[in-house]
């Protein structure tokens, strides 16, 4: 204590100086407008700087919480974005002329909406599709599959919840088609050169086929009803045998971008199939009779 008192006594002038200087500075900023303004500005800047540092520190401690919220928001927005994109795509899709025509042709048929969940699209290879509807939804083998762009293919295998579709871009696909407005028909096949094109073989030479005419299903099978859009004639060529025409067709569907499809449940398919089976048996019996 004594040391402290000695110290204060010895350096009293220093404390006196500090006291008087503070008093002078207070007078300076209090009674002089310019100095007061400069002081106020500087002190405000300093206070703002300190407050900024404090706010940064507080914000830093809350980064974890903000990050969680941002992640949650991001996921929600991604889902919203996806839903909106789907809705937009559906809205655009429904308005196409072809889709409306297809739906018109399919009136009276049971349609099972499905979504493509697996898609192999490759030039030169046999392609296939997997849809998210199976036997549990009423899908069975050899049902037709259509989309807004027209014919897609035929169900090959039906599992409980999923089905395998052989599209028209498969070498074993063969769908009975005709030129719109004419009764001549042929079979739609794929040569593997392009996933957007196929050809209709065995069209009689007296059929008046031209470029741009519409190719649609003939309805001569129990799979597709007649009049479903398939594509448009791009070129008319002679078949290799020289006895018929071969029509190159630009398909209505882009299989690389296929998403929403419908499975066509033909109401009389079982009846037609039963008649066909009986006819085949009769042919066999007649062939086997002496």
């Amino acid at each position: 204590m004594q040391v402290l008192l000695d110290f204060l006594r010895r350096y009293n002038y220093l404390f006196l100086f500090l006291l008087l200087e503070i008093f002078c500075i207070v007078m300076l900023v209090r009674f002089n407008r310019y100095q007061g303004y400069v002081w106020l500005t500087a002190s405000n800047e300093a206070a703002a700087s300190v407050n900024g540092v404090y706010q940064d520190a507080v914000a830093f401690t809350r980064l974890s919480e903000v990050n969680e919220q941002l992640t949650s928001d991001n996921i929600r927005l991604q889902q919203e974005n996806r839903a909106l994109r789907d809705a937009l795509r559906d809205a655009r899709y429904d308005t196409t002329y072809t889709h409306r025509c297809v739906l018109k042709q399919l009136q009276g048929y049971q349609l099972i909406p499905a979504r493509v969940v697996g898609n192999k699209v490759q030039v030169g290879m046999d392609n296939y599709l997997v849809i998210d509807r199976g036997s549990a939804d009423g899908v069975t083998a050899e049902m037709g599959v259509v989309s807004g762009g027209g014919v897609v293919g035929i169900i090959y295998l039906a599992n409980v919840h999923h089905s395998l579709v052989i599209p028209v871009t498969h070498s074993k696909s063969s769908i009975s088609c005709s030129v719109r407005g004419q009764d001549y028909f042929g079979y739609l096949q794929w040569d593997g050169s392009n996933t957007r094109t196929a050809y209709v073989a065995d069209v009689p030479r007296y059929a008046k086929a031209r470029k741009g005419q519409v190719i649609e299903t003939s309805g001569f099978s129990s799979v597709f009803p007649p009049g479903i859009f398939v594509g448009r004639v791009n070129r008319v060529r002679n078949a290799p045998d020289g006895q018929s025409y071969r029509l190159d067709v630009v398909l209505g569907n882009d299989f690389a971008a296929l998403r929403d499809v419908s499975v066509v449940a033909t109401p009389y398919k079982a009846e037609v199939d039963s008649l066909k089976a009986r006819a085949e048996r009769l042919e066999l019996n007649e062939a086997g009779a002496p």
Binding site: N12, Y13, F17, L20, C24, V26, M27, L28, F31, V38
Partner: protein, 171 residues
């Protein structure tokens, strides 16, 4: 002691009056303003307590401020000078100053020593004064010109006062 205090009082009143009524209105070339009241700290005896320097400086500065409408500026500069003046005085004073001490003057310190002492204190005072008055370093060149010219003019007046006092003593 009494005559010395009386002399100091006379010089204090004279210099403060001159400062308020005359020197405050002098601005040579818009820069140089003499402030010879610094002399009131220079003329204190070497045995003066340091706290008296500080209080005396503050008092003189405050009085000048009150009459010059610069409240706080001169007081702050003079208080600062009150703190450092004894150190400068001891630095420039001759080592042999006797038991009774001396009053800083050309006669006791020689002209060279006294000039260095006066010049240093004046420059320090004007520096602090103009820094407090400008309160920013926005225009440093202008600030330095103010300090240099005002210091030179103040020093000239202080030397004149000392010359007058020497002549009075001789007379």
């Amino acid at each position: 002691m009494f005559p010395t205090s009386l002399q100091n009082g006379f010089w204090a009143i004279t210099l403060i009056l001159l400062q308020v009524m005359v020197f405050n209105h002098i601005h040579i070339m818009g820069y140089a303003t003499p402030m010879p009241f610094v002399y009131l700290l220079l003329m204190l005896h070497s045995h003066t307590e340091r706290w008296i320097y500080v209080v005396w400086g503050f008092a003189v500065g405050l009085i000048v401020d009150v009459f010059s409408n610069t409240l706080g500026v001169c007081a702050a500069a003079m208080t600062f000078l009150g703190l450092v003046a004894p150190l400068l005085r001891d630095a420039f004073m001759p080592a042999d100053r006797g038991e009774d001490g001396i009053t800083p003057s050309p006669r006791s310190m020689q002209w060279s020593g006294y000039l260095r002492y006066a010049a240093t204190t004046t420059i320090l005072f004007t520096s602090v004064f103009y820094v407090m008055e400008c309160f920013s370093f926005f225009d440093v060149v202008r600030l330095l010109i103010h300090i240099a010219t005002s210091s030179a003019l103040t020093l000239l007046i202080i030397c004149s006062i000392e010359h007058i006092r020497q002549n009075v003593v001789r007379g």
